[in-house]
């Protein structure tokens, strides 16, 4: 790739051939505000916030789509440019709720940041506003079209990241809105709830239902981790507040997932703090007592003293009983009476050990793995 020399705001910079002005500026940490662009998505040119002046061009052009050329002179922060941006922000605010004090996205909202930067305090047009009901019945994502600025990041994320195309724009002009499937609810669309749309939404229009009211962006600690669900090893960024996960973000640098996750990685974390979650092993009382399987029904197993009662023990006891029972079974019925199923949630090393246990310790080849199904 060749190099291209251009001047941005009086500074000579070098860009790669094929760069847009925005990409070239970013290479040199030169700030140009924008709403509709996201580094993981192809440019759209929709929000008209990144407009810049290009020498020799009459109109303003969006820096996110305009390719650099040799000798180009670009001004990104003139009076003219700022006035055009402010006008566009005023338009967006004229059809956007002014409820930042209770909005989930506050502190993590690009529209809010730009309204602050350009001093857009209120609706100056006093015109018609949309009043969408916020009632998409899907279990994972709150869809608040009132907050949508139609930047179409979600549309592109669904198409480019997840490859599903469940999201698109419906109708035209002022009546345009983001919809799912054939203008249905999210759960009636091909949506797989990967949450990529939520991740890239620059406002509070798409928000995880699990995270509603859980905390603000400045209150959380961000922890990068590996998703525990399967063997792909997706990287996730957990938003943790008071030692509790309140939201899962994309880890764009994750080598195996580049920011993408599936529904489980993105939204399947509520088991962690769930009241029903076991955090210690349990065994049936009759096993602890060294007795045979009782003939009595399991119906009253929660009753004190019932042989079926679950009793909390430590790992040594639990594993001891398991090993003893496995030995007993193998000795009584033979190794091939037993089968082993391992999990994609386990690490490679753990699966390897399970294989050893099955074939060499127990002595059977009956082992399988859920990822094969």
């Amino acid at each position: 790739m060749g190099k291209v020399n251009l001047i941005i705001d009086g500074k000579e910079i070098q860009a790669e051939q094929g760069d847009t002005i925005l990409q070239a500026a970013r290479r040199h940490n030169h700030y140009i505000p924008i709403l509709c662009d996201h580094p993981a998505l192809p440019p759209e040119g929709a929000c008209r916030i990144c407009l810049v002046e290009i020498e020799g061009q009459r109109a303003l052009h969006p820096s996110c789509t305009y390719p650099v050329t040799e000798g180009m002179v670009v001004e990104t922060n003139t009076e003219r440019v700022r006035a055009a941006r402010k006008f566009n922000l005023e338009l967006l605010i004229s059809d956007h709720p002014l409820d930042c004090m209770t909005c989930e996205a506050t502190g993590n909202c690009l529209l809010q940041d730009l309204a602050y930067e350009y001093e857009v305090k209120e609706d100056v047009f006093h015109g018609t506003r949309h009043h969408f009901s916020v009632n998409d019945p899907n279990p994972f994502i709150q869809v608040d079209r009132n907050k949508c600025i139609l930047c179409r990041r979600c549309v592109r994320a669904c198409r480019e990241i997840n490859g599903v195309e469940a999201i698109s724009v419906f109708y035209r002009g002022f009546n345009a809105y983001i919809g799912f499937g054939a203008d249905s609810s999210m759960d009636n669309s091909p949506c797989e709830f990967c949450g990529s749309c939520v991740e890239v939404c620059p406002t509070g229009a798409l928000w995880p239902k699990l995270s509603l009211g859980q905390g603000r962006s400045w209150e959380v600690e961000k922890v990068q981790t590996t998703c525990p669900y399967c063997g792909v090893g997706c990287q996730l960024v957990l938003e943790v507040k008071d030692n509790k996960i309140i939201k899962v973000d994309s880890a764009w640098e994750g080598p195996s997932n580049h920011g993408w996750t599936c529904v489980k990685g993105r939204f399947g974390y509520d088991f962690i703090q769930h009241a029903d979650r076991l955090d210690k092993p349990r065994v049936r009382k009759y096993l602890l007592d060294g007795k045979q399987k009782p003939a009595a029904s399991k119906r009253d197993h929660e009753k004190e003293g019932n042989p079926w009662q679950w009793v909390e023990v430590d790992w040594e006891v639990a594993l001891g009983i398991t090993a003893e029972k496995m030995n007993q079974t193998r000795d009584t019925y033979g190794a091939d009476s037993m089968g082993f199923l391992t999990s994609a949630k386990c690490l490679n090393e753990e699966n390897y050990l399970m294989n050893k246990l099955t074939r060499q310790v127990i002595g059977t080849n009956s082992i399988d793995h859920c990822a094969r199904l």
Binding site: E44, G45, A46, C47, R48, I49, L51, A59, L60, H61, P62, T65, Y66, P67, R80, A83, A84, F87, N88, L91, L92, S94, D95, F125, G127, T128, I149, L150, R152, S168, V169, Y171, R172, G173, F174, N175, A176
Partner: protein, 643 residues
């Protein structure tokens, strides 16, 4: 039809077609019917049925020829009679009942009733009927120069022989066998042809960009998504002379090196699509399209893509997205379609008229074309004349002609003794010009400098009864509803601008609103993604510029001088003009008019609902539009409304 394998075979077929035509003109009676959409809407199908019936009745044998629109939409249905070796005589506003009478007079008695006859086109050997005006002598046609419309209304669009007889596909043959692709581009560049879609970009230069762009295959596309309200230029070419478009497209494809092309035509033009399909089939059958055209090395395939009715798909990148099966909305340029268009390949997009003109430039040469019109806008402009004008229809005039000549000479002026107020060019994204601008020459640059735009050819004339605020609001309603919604300034700016205009026309406007119009317009122009958003404020800006006093009257006095905006005017009867005829009294639905026969009438304002019924029926212009506060209060009228 045989597959033509070389230029000689084409010329042989052309000679045969000409001989056939000559034979028909010399030896047969021809009945020619205008069967464009305009004619059919006016009743041409019924007239055609009557023609067949009457021919049987008079025991006459005739060839019935269906042609496209000849431009006189206000006179449809048209019926032309051409007797063997005679002139072609045009009857206008023909009804089925009239057909028999016309035949009896014309064909049996040999009389020409001037009451029904519009004019005549001289026969093949210049035969004319004494006493009847020829088309050239008539103001509607005399000032026209028809290039894009050269065959419209003259040939049968469903018969390729007619097109060949008129010299058709001669330009293509010349390009293929006597010129290199670069020669063709040079010829089009030399002609100075500017794109007839509205932007006026040099067609030859566009072709050159596309030819030089890297990528294969390349595509040529015809933009036939004509969506301006009141515009029907492209439709008439498609319906009246589809081969002219095909020939131009094949020439463009040869020049650019494109093996494939698309015609993007709106589905609301079923007749145009039907005739295009027939024309394409004929061209394939004769080897004028498809593999090895006329035996040359050049091959070209053409498909029709029907648009689903989105105005914005007339924007080239939206049009391309639509062909690709995507949501029809524009994307930022650059890259221009010439570099990355359909499926990301170099693509040339031109308007119907641009292609139709190209085939003539190739036939007759760049010099011929550039001598017509002005230096910077050579050639002709096609306009669909509509609105408050006597001769509505389709015209083609040399560039540089004044608006006045178009409106008063060709258009016949304003009907019903009303006054000209403004003319809108460039459709809903254009602008209006006032009476002072009537002498503006019609060309790309002069119209833009005057405050309007050339556009693709809509020309809407309005009279004193049009409120310019409401007029602008009408176009704005259209343009904002047709915004694709992709970019912020157009999606929300159009809506906000419309709200300001609505406020003014409903009497809630303020002087600050006029500044607000200018502010919104400025930023919409500056920041919108495509021409639709950039030009949406056009009509508003033009009308505010030229009719500012009318805007100010709306906001300061709450007065609409045109008598259009509800609640912002009232009617008064002019005592000097009123003869007391009683027509208005009868028309008034609320019995608000007080008076007796031959006594001046008076309107009881407490009962009047400003419906305009009295205004419309008064033949004397005695009902006047007045400011509300100017009126005397008629106290005695209460309770005495009925006389």
């Amino acid at each position: 039809m045989p597959v033509l394998k070389n230029i000689n075979e084409l010329e042989a077929v052309r000679e045969k077609a000409r001989a056939h035509k000559k034979d028909r003109e010399n030896n047969k009676l021809s009945i020619i019917l205008g069967m464009g959409t305009c004619g059919i809407a006016a009743g041409a199908n019924e007239v055609a049925a009557a023609v067949r019936e009457e021919l049987d009745k008079f025991d006459l044998e005739a060839e019935i020829i269906h042609v496209g629109c000849i431009g006189m939409c206000h006179n449809e249905p048209l019926l032309d009679i051409q007797q063997p070796g005679g002139a072609r005589i045009t009857y206008t506003k023909v009804t089925p009942a009239l057909v028999g009478k016309i035949f009896e007079k014309h064909l049996i008695k040999g009389e020409y009733s001037k009451r029904w006859i519009f004019g005549q086109i001289p026969g093949a050997n210049g035969e004319i009927v004494e006493g009847l005006p020829t088309y050239d002598e008539l103001p509607f046609y005399g000032k026209q120069v028809r290039i894009a419309l050269r065959n419209c209304g003259l040939i049968d669009p469903e018969n390729i022989e007619d097109y060949l007889a008129s010299g058709g596909y001669g330009g293509l043959a010349k390009a293929l066998f006597k010129m290199s692709p670069d020669d063709v581009i040079e010829e089009v560049k030399d002609s100075g042809l500017r794109g007839r879609g509205g932007a006026g970009f040099l067609t030859g230069l566009k072709w050159e960009f596309c030819r030089k762009a890297k990528g294969y295959p390349k595509y040529v596309i015809c933009n036939a998504d004509e969506g301006d309200p009141g515009a029907f230029m492209d439709r008439s070419v498609l319906e009246g002379d589809p081969h002219a478009l095909l020939e131009g497209m094949i020439i463009a494809a040869y020049a650019i090196g494109a093996p494939e092309g698309y015609i993007y035509c709106r589905a609301e033009y079923p007749l145009a699509i039907e005739r295009l399909k027939i024309a394409i089939r004929q061209a394939y059958e004769m080897g004028l399209m498809g593999k090895n055209i006329l035996g040359s090395d050049f091959s070209f395939d053409l498909k029709i893509k029907e648009g689903a009715g989105a105005f914005v798909c007339g924007e080239e990148t939206a049009l391309i997205a639509s062909i690709e099966g995507k949501r029809g909305e524009p994307r930022p340029r650059p890259p221009y379609p010439a570099v990355a268009g359909l499926w990301g390949k170099p693509t040339n997009v031109n308007n119907v008229k641009s292609y139709a003109i190209t085939s003539q430039i190739l036939t007759k040469g760049a010099d011929w074309f550039s001598e017509i019109g002005t230096d910077k806008s050579p050639g002709t402009a096609v306009f669909a004349l509509t609105g408050k004008i006597k001769n509505t229809g389709l015209i083609e005039v040399p560039m540089g002609i004044s608006l006045r000549e178009i409106i008063y000479d060709i258009g016949g002026g304003i009907p019903d003794k009303k006054e000209f107020k403004a003319v809108q060019t460039g459709g809903p994204l254009g602008g209006c010009l006032p009476v002072e601008a009537l002498d503006t020459p019609v060309d790309f640059d002069s119209l833009t400098a005057a405050g309007a735009t050339m556009g693709s050819g809509g020309m809407i004339v309005v009279d004193q009864e049009t409120c310019m605020v409401e007029f602008a609001r009408y176009f704005l309603t259209f343009a904002s509803a047709e915004s694709c919604g992709k970019c912020v300034p157009c999606r929300l700016g159009g809506q906000r601008l419309l709200e300001v205009l609505t406020r003014i026309t409903s009497g809630d406007g303020t002087l600050e609103d006029l500044d607000e119009i200018e502010r919104i317009s400025k930023y919409m122009r500056e920041g919108s993604l495509c021409a639709l958003g950039q030009l949406t404020p056009g009509p508003v800006m033009a009308s505010l510029r030229f009719f500012r006093a009318e805007y100010e009257a709306h906001v300061t006095e709450k007065f609409c001088e045109a008598g259009v905006c509800a609640g912002m005017f009232t009617y008064e009867i002019d005592a000097d003009r009123c003869t007391g005829c009683g027509l208005c009294m009868k028309a008034c639905p609320t019995k608000a008019i007080i008076g007796e026969k031959k006594v001046v009438h008076v309107i009881d304002q407490s009962q009047c609902i400003q419906c305009g019924a009295c205004y419309d029926v008064c033949n004397l212009g005695a009902v006047l539009v007045k400011r509300k506060h100017e009126l005397p209060v008629i106290e005695a009228a209460q309770g005495e409304g009925v006389i």
